[in-house]
């Protein structure tokens, strides 16, 4: 996994609440057995005017000019600014894969759905929860100022504005450590092989039907 330390990037705003995983990456693209290549289909139904299917050359498809990702000012954005309950719906990890594949490294929102939030950390993508009033102000700033950038600093657990204003955010210590160092979760867990074996041995006696 790609480590995440500090990202200084262009901000792109998606101004709607409850953005669900079906909107982030529609189901027809979930048929892929690969882990990459979902970026061009991120927000497919909002982004393009035609119906998308896997395997198309998306550069040739008619784009919705009103959608933020199609506006020149947001090209190359690395930070997605979003509203409450971002990523609700299914557990499809294709959602963070698509966001990451489209070039984003961090998402700032007042709240995230649990499974999506968790999936982000497995993919070098940092979900940042800031107070709704602060997110409101950031939306206003992004809309007012083309080229608006933010710095997201995971070590310091802060979002820094161009004016130097700092907003602190919380992040679970374990997830922070894994993301900062780009650690493989499975490798970490396998350090506890003995504990897992001991647990299983105990449970085989307590609840033998679980092992039949």
């Amino acid at each position: 996994m790609k480590p995440f330390t500090v990202v200084d990037g262009l901000v792109a705003p998606l101004d709607r609440a409850n953005v669900d995983t079906d909107a982030i990456i529609p189901k027809q693209f979930l048929k892929s057995i690969r882990r990459s290549g979902f970026g061009p289909n991120l927000f497919d139904e909002w982004r393009y005017l035609d119906h998308g299917e896997p395997g198309q050359d998306c550069s040739q498809r008619p784009k919705n000019p009103d959608f933020f990702l199609n506006q020149p000012r947001y090209q190359g954005a690395q930070i997605l600014l979003a509203r409450e309950n971002f990523g609700c719906g299914s557990s499809r990890e294709h959602a963070p894969w698509a966001i990451e594949d489209a070039g984003f490294r961090a998402i700032i929102a007042p709240s995230f759905a649990d499974i999506f939030y968790n999936n982000c950390f497995k993919n070098g993508l940092l979900p940042v929860v800031l107070d709704a009033a602060i997110v409101d102000r950031l939306f206003a700033a992004v809309n007012a100022e083309p080229g608006y950038r933010l710095t997201v600093d995971l070590s310091a657990q802060q979002v820094v504005t161009p004016d130097g204003e700092r907003f602190s955010f919380d992040v679970d210590a374990h997830r922070r450590m894994c993301l900062l160092e780009g650690l493989d979760d499975i490798g970490l867990t396998l350090r506890h092989v003995d504990a897992i074996r001991a647990y299983e041995a105990r449970r085989r006696t307590e609840a033998p039907w679980l092992f039949e």
Binding site: G89, I115, E200
Partner: protein
């Protein structure tokens, strides 16, 4: 010290290791696998040269991509076919048991787990699918995971996770006739919102929940995720034990009594304290119907399409306006004036035998309205299909002009050929009314099986209590 919640007990029983930073290693008893969220996990194992930790804990089934008709001809879409064949190959390569597409036990992963006794009380159950919360109906700790975690569970039989907060939703009293578990679920989501349960494990309790069948409890726990909660659960009681006894993978002999002795402790202690409590009076719940593009956008069937301008929050107002535009609705229209183009009876929410019986009971001797283009009835598993046919339900559906299909996820998320066309309005017994969920531009209204069947006959939504 206060007593333990059901969630506390399930958590404690599966804790392998607790880190000081809050992360915990939790043991997973049952891992359900389907074709959509597993290929990259198996590939990850291959790339790292890892083997599954305990293959017997896993069970696989293709459900999202499978066709619901002409199955003997295989899967027409080559991309879908490859995904299902990839699951078959991975299960063979890694030695994981699978109910393949032509096995009578095949069905929706959340239907077949309980049906086979692979889901048992007291288990931790995970699947790369958010509706894994369904299995909490058995007094199990069950939740959806992403593909990285699917790989993690395959490799280690554990998950790195952290304990959620606890919420108890007590539904007291008795719901009126025509009010089902689906209506209770939608009413709860309408009250606490689609993020109301975020960060919580929800225990559903109270008289109305204890009165539900296991099918009803599964419907309810299935929708916990639509309230934002990864896990929903119901305490073990006699209804649970009666359902589990005799299932193919349920314990038997001495193991059965030993299991029951433990399972009967899987209830929240009377002095347990929850982080949050919600109380709902079942007698106030009416048949529900969603009007918008989030499950929280829901009203009783007798209501009118709400006016978003009445909402105080500007973000919610904008969402409401967008939802009305997408759904092709005008505020103030009675919900029962809305004509439907298609009806879908199925999904991991409502495809069990009780659901099919409820739908059939409404339509017996009647035919679908002419304006309704298609009514799909998709049983949750091959065994449910057999059971329904032995009861003659398939005949009732066919005589009404409904299509009786083979089991799978079908039009709940339209990954196979079953889908809405742009602008079509659907009465659906599934769980999500998101934009494009049932087909790009499709308009989904979530309802109970009886409400969906009644809409198919009337050609528009009706209050099933007066139908």
């Amino acid at each position: 010290m206060s007593g333990q919640t059901l969630y506390d007990k399930l958590w404690q029983a599966h804790l392998v290791h607790q880190e000081t930073d809050g992360a915990a290693l939790l043991y997973i008893d049952r891992h359900l696998v389907h074709e959509v969220t597993s290929p990259q996990a198996f590939e990850g194992l291959r790339l790292a040269g890892r083997k599954p930790w305990r293959t017997a804990a896993a069970i696989a089934v293709p459900d999202h991509n499978v066709p619901t008709e002409h199955r003997d001809q295989g899967i027409a879409d080559p991309v879908s076919r490859l995904q299902v064949e990839t699951l078959d190959r991975n299960c063979t390569d890694f030695g994981i048991r699978e109910f393949g597409m032509h096995d009578v036990r095949q069905g929706i992963v959340h239907v077949i787990g309980p049906e086979q006794g692979l889901t048992l009380p007291g288990m931790t159950v995970v699947c790369g699918d958010s509706h894994t919360s369904t299995h909490g109906a058995f007094g199990a700790l069950a939740f959806g995971i992403g593909t990285s975690e699917v790989e993690h569970v395959l490799a280690t039989q554990c998950l790195v996770t952290r304990k959620s907060k606890s919420m108890r939703i007590r539904v007291e009293g008795h719901p009126g006739a025509g009010v089902t578990a689906k209506d209770i679920a939608l009413a709860i989501i309408g009250q606490i919102g689609t993020a109301g349960g975020t960060g919580y494990a929800i225990e559903f309790a109270g008289e109305a929940i204890r009165s539900l069948s296991m099918e009803g409890r599964m419907t309810l726990c299935n929708m916990a995720i639509e309230a934002g909660a990864r896990a929903g659960m119901v305490a073990v009681d006699q209804t649970t034990l009666d359902y589990v006894r005799g299932r193919p993978s349920a314990p038997s002999g001495d193991n059965w009594q030993q299991a029951v002795n433990w399972w009967q402790t899987l209830v929240s202690d009377t002095d347990a304290v929850f982080d949050s409590e919600v109380l709902i009076d079942a007698s106030t719940i009416e048949p529900q119907i969603t009007w918008g593009t989030s499950p929280e956008m829901v009203v009783p069937v007798g209501a009118r399409v709400p006016d978003p301008t009445s909402l105080a929050d500007p973000v919610r107002q904008a969402d409401g306006r967008r939802a009305l535009a997408y759904m092709g609705l005008e505020a103030g229209t009675p919900m029962t004036d809305l004509a439907v183009d298609r009806v879908f009876i199925g999904s991991c929410t409502n495809s069990r035998i009780e659901d099919l019986r409820a739908a059939a009971a409404v339509i017996r001797g009647r035919r679908k309205a002419d304006n309704v283009r298609q009514v799909l009835v998709v049983p949750g598993s091959g065994l449910i299909k057999q059971q329904a046919e032995s009861e003659g339900l398939d005949r009732i559906f066919r005589e009404a002009g409904f299509e009786w299909r083979d089991p799978g996820c079908s039009m709940c998320l339209a990954m196979n050929a079953d889908r809405l066309e742009p602008g079509e309005r659907c009465a659906s017994t599934s769980n999500r009314n998101f934009e494009g969920r049932q087909g790009q531009g499709g308009r989904t209204h979530l309802v109970s099986p009886a409400m969906a069947a009644a809409a198919a006959i009337a050609g528009h939504f009706v209050d099933v209590r007066h139908f």
